[in-house]
């Protein structure tokens, strides 16, 4: 990789140098030019603790390639702007009405005109060539180490790891939602689609976005240089709760990743009989299990319960809750599962501790009970979803999102106890 990045860097810097010299003739404001470079530098430097979706802070190879392309382009654009404004403002000042006679009626100078037409064309060639180069480069996915499927639906992402040798070996499918866990340094290919409308998968610090279109499979490569939690967001307008359709990618070291996988595939542990959680289990079976799958959950006859979200939700899917408490956000990564106190321990963990802390999951002490309770009490009030039974004619009565279930506070207590053990 580094092999092919080096020459491109050279090319871009050459191109910058070139365009700078071209403008010497026209641009009187040398200072202004320097100023713009300084501003740009400030821009880059200033990004230190900026928004988690900052597109100027690549944290992986793919995003880096884009960044290597984009900053020189921004620079060129900035310089062109400075040149144009320099000339324009100079002229505005120089030729203001100071009582001079009516100017000569000059209609044009074809040679100058043609020259000034060619100049931008030349600049653009210098932009176009690396653009196409990067495009081809980014499209090359031969060295994939790991395949992860994502499926967008209103308004959350399902993430599943199909059985494969990649990702360090997956023996049984892992299905989760909202948060994707990957190993640092591996080339992950996200194969995405959608169950309803178009969504767009975007982890800014790892790569550009890719629309996930129903009926098609589109891919997006991810690779993270360092452990960390990388925020993302659905960026194709997908209806009511588009704003609440977020996701995260958690990159961790090899060992942590292996531990994560092992945990995901652990067998179901039924709650201690008679405990609150056990009551929660039966509430869950009666209220939730028709939509939400919990792997290994059995009914009183000892039969495995298979959720049928396809009969209960328009998109045909609901998040798999088997390991809910191993994630630390829920409902389209819109809300925290971790309380304000515990959240920073994971989210602001030093790079080498991210995986470890993340794998600890959500304990009873750390649970953000407020949001989870509110969610269970009345989901559509917490996050706009299309669940009002009187308005579901078009979808044959099926909601888009999780409906209001009229749970009692007791039931909610039980459910929370039960869910806390899903880790």
């Amino acid at each position: 990789m580094s092999l092919d990045r080096t020459p491109r860097n050279e090319r871009t810097s050459m191109q910058v140098a070139k365009s700078t010299t071209t403008f010497d003739a026209v641009n009187p404001g040398r200072l202004a030019r320097l100023g713009s470079v300084a501003m740009l530098a400030a821009l880059v430097a200033g990004c230190a603790n900026d928004a988690p979706q900052d597109t100027w802070q690549p944290a992986g190879e793919n995003a880096q390639k884009i960044h290597d392309l984009q900053w020189p382009v921004f620079l060129v654009a900035g310089l062109v702007g400075v040149a144009v404004f320099g000339v324009l403002f100079y002229a505005l000042w120089r030729y203001r009405d100071t009582g001079q006679p009516i100017p000569k009626q000059i209609h044009g100078r074809p040679k100058l005109e043609i020259g000034l037409t060619i100049l931008p064309a030349v600049i653009l060639i210098f932009v176009a060539v690396p653009t196409v180069g990067t495009l081809i480069d980014l499209a090359d996915t031969d060295d994939t180490d790991c395949i992860i499927n994502v499926t967008g639906q209103q308004w959350w992402w399902e993430i599943d790891y199909p059985v494969q040798d990649g990702c360090g070996g997956i023996s049984e499918p892992i299905i989760t939602s909202g948060q994707m866990v990957i190993e640092v340094g591996t080339n992950v290919i996200v194969r995405g689609t959608s169950r309803d409308v178009i969504h767009s998968w975007w982890i800014p610090r790892l790569n550009g976005k890719r629309d996930m279109v129903p009926g098609r499979v589109h891919t997006n490569r991810l690779q993270a240089e360092a452990p960390g939690i990388y925020a993302g967001q659905c960026t194709e307008f997908c209806g009511l709760s588009h704003a609440n359709m977020r996701m995260e990618v958690i990159a961790m070291e090899h060992d942590d990743f292996e531990a994560w996988k092992a945990n995901q595939l652990e067998a179901y542990a039924a709650p201690e009989p008679e405990s609150l959680a056990a009551e929660g289990e039966s509430t869950f079976i009666s209220q939730c299990a028709r939509c939400h799958q919990v792997n290994g959950l059995e009914n009183s006859d000892g039969e495995l319960i298979i959720a049928r979200p396809d009969l209960n939700v328009w998109s045909g899917a609901a998040p798999n809750l088997t390991k809910l408490m191993t994630r630390n956000t829920f409902a389209g990564a819109s809300f925290d599962l971790l309380s304000d106190v515990c959240r920073p321990l994971v989210w602001e963990a030093p790079s080498d501790l991210v995986g470890e802390r993340y794998n600890e999951g959500v304990s009873a002490d750390c649970l953000n009970e407020v949001d989870l309770r509110e969610w269970l009490r009345n989901p559509p009030a917490k996050k706009p979803m299309y669940t009002d039974p009187t308005k579901l004619e078009a979808t044959n009565g099926l909601p888009r999102g999780m409906p209001f279930l009229a749970l009692s506070e007791d039931q909610i207590d039980q459910l929370i106890a039960y869910l806390l053990e899903r880790k």
Binding site: L88, I136, G215
Partner: protein, 668 residues
Amino acid sequence: MAIIERPADVPAVVVPTPTASTNFGYFRRPVETTGWKSWAFTVDHKKIGIMYGVAAMFFFLVGGLEAGLIRWQLAQADGTILSADKYNQMFTMHATTMVFLFVMPMAAAFANYFIPLQVGARDVAFPRLNALSLWVFIFGGVFLNTSWFLGGAADGGWFMYAPNSSGIFSPSNGVDFWALGLQITGIASLVGAINLIVTVLNMRAPGMSMMRMPIFTWMAFVVQMLLLFAIPVITVALFLLMFQRSYGATFFSVEAGADPLLWQHLFWIFGHPEVYILVLPSFGIISEVLPVFSRKPLFGYPFVVFSGAAIGFVGWGVWAHHMFASGLGPVSVAVFSVATMAIAVPTGVKIINWTLTVWGGKLWFTTAMLFAIGLIVQFTIGGLSGVTHAVAPSDTQQTDTYYIVAHFHYVIFGGAVLGLFAGFYYWWPKVFGKLLSETLGKWNFWLMIIGMNLTFGPMHILGLQGQPRRMYIWTDYRAGEGFFNLGFWNLIASLGTIVLGVGIFMFLVNVWVTHRPGSTTLAAPEDPWDARSLEWMSTSPPKPHNYDRTPIVHDLDEFFHRKYEDVGEGDDHDYVLRASGAEVIAEEERNADAHIHLPAPSYWPIVLAAALPIMAYGVIYNTLLIVAGAAVAVMAMFGWALEPADAEPSDFDPPPPEPATGTELANV
């Protein structure tokens, strides 16, 4: 079958039988020259232009109100001003209103008013069709906005991507209103386009060659060509959408095997030419304004003309740059990426020529001039960010973020809207005979410039910091803390909107101050700016028949050359004032043509236009209404077709007074 054998060279001349001019049917022609009837049934391109302008201005305020609500909601994290649902309707209708009901019709207002004047014609080629366009647009716009009161407006965003727009995902009638409403306003644009193209091609005064045409007319002409060919594309898309939603077709249903990208292609094949439809009229306007206030001809007129045409042409080959993240495949993406960059070349030609027009001039910074300069600066910023989108890999980091929102508001607001305001100030005395206040004008300008940069400038930062567009809320968790945090810049953007709104409000104040009853503003001189192009060679406001005698055109900048004489020797060109503008106009008046015939007013355009929303409501609510609307339409069409060519005085209701000035009313 009988074969007709007849020598072809026998000039079998048809004696044009003068059609009977007795009134047809029940209705006689309206004739009022004052009162509402004189507006409702007029076919005068100037009155139609003014009505276009007023209606568009109204929709600007509506669209601006919607924008205000959007910004209010987004001023802080987790805003609570609007629900998610209302917010989605808000930005959809904001964009739809601004694009289809403000900028396009406002450009149509200018085109209607000034194309005939600038080419030296008495009216457009088809005056009744012109009235039809106006009313269809107005009824379409009203129809579209009635959705607010009938179960909610469209909520799919202005590009209304499938399948999110289909009945399942958007079950209210909003999208139906949207599709039908745009269908209706599309008819207005298409009819208008045909009309104005014919006017430009075929109605020019003697001597007015294409290359002597004022530049605004040229740009408006290119725009009409774009409309002519772009409207049918969205018509197809809208029909498919309507069949999908109202008649059970599955053009965008993935379950049925449809490809949702079909919609995207159709929309953007229309949509990209559309953005040049928005901006080229303003390019035309400032290409008139800059020379006048630089006291110099437009630099490189043919370059500006041809670059306009080139923009129009190349604009057809770049639509997929809106789909870089859609999964087109690298080959298509590469092609469209490079094609998009190519558009910067002709656009650059314009920027450069404007700059060189100013260069060496004698600059007079009127409000109109300030707006024109503002356009150059603001549009260039937007254009350059456009080029950064054209770089496809970078665009995958930018698309659907506020960085895009910043781009297009800079090109649209900084390009199209500032240009329109330049036009307001420049041509106000021409249209209304009074100058707007320059003092208020400067307030207007500076507040708008500051406001727009405060509003849209921060959006660059917001977008690059990863704030996606079309989100009814943003969250503190993703806001960051540094200098570039979302909270601060969202707030600035929202506060900026207030400044912007106050700036625009200044314009309304200015109009009020100038025209309020008892206003002390004096009538403007005939030629307040020492202007150059033909339209100023008429009185202000122009007489109903525009020119007292049909002008004969010798030069580009005809009016200038009539005022100034070249007294230089050889290559030295020294111009001295030979006659003032008022004198030139007075000279024309002395040589007025007698017996000028003007097109006669007609009821049919407004009746036919009214039929369309009736049919559209029918599609949504009740098939019977479609039939009723169609009946009205057919009746109107027959009435129209049978309206006699020559309108005799007896045709009118009541018969018009004897023409005193030699102006007769006649039909076209």
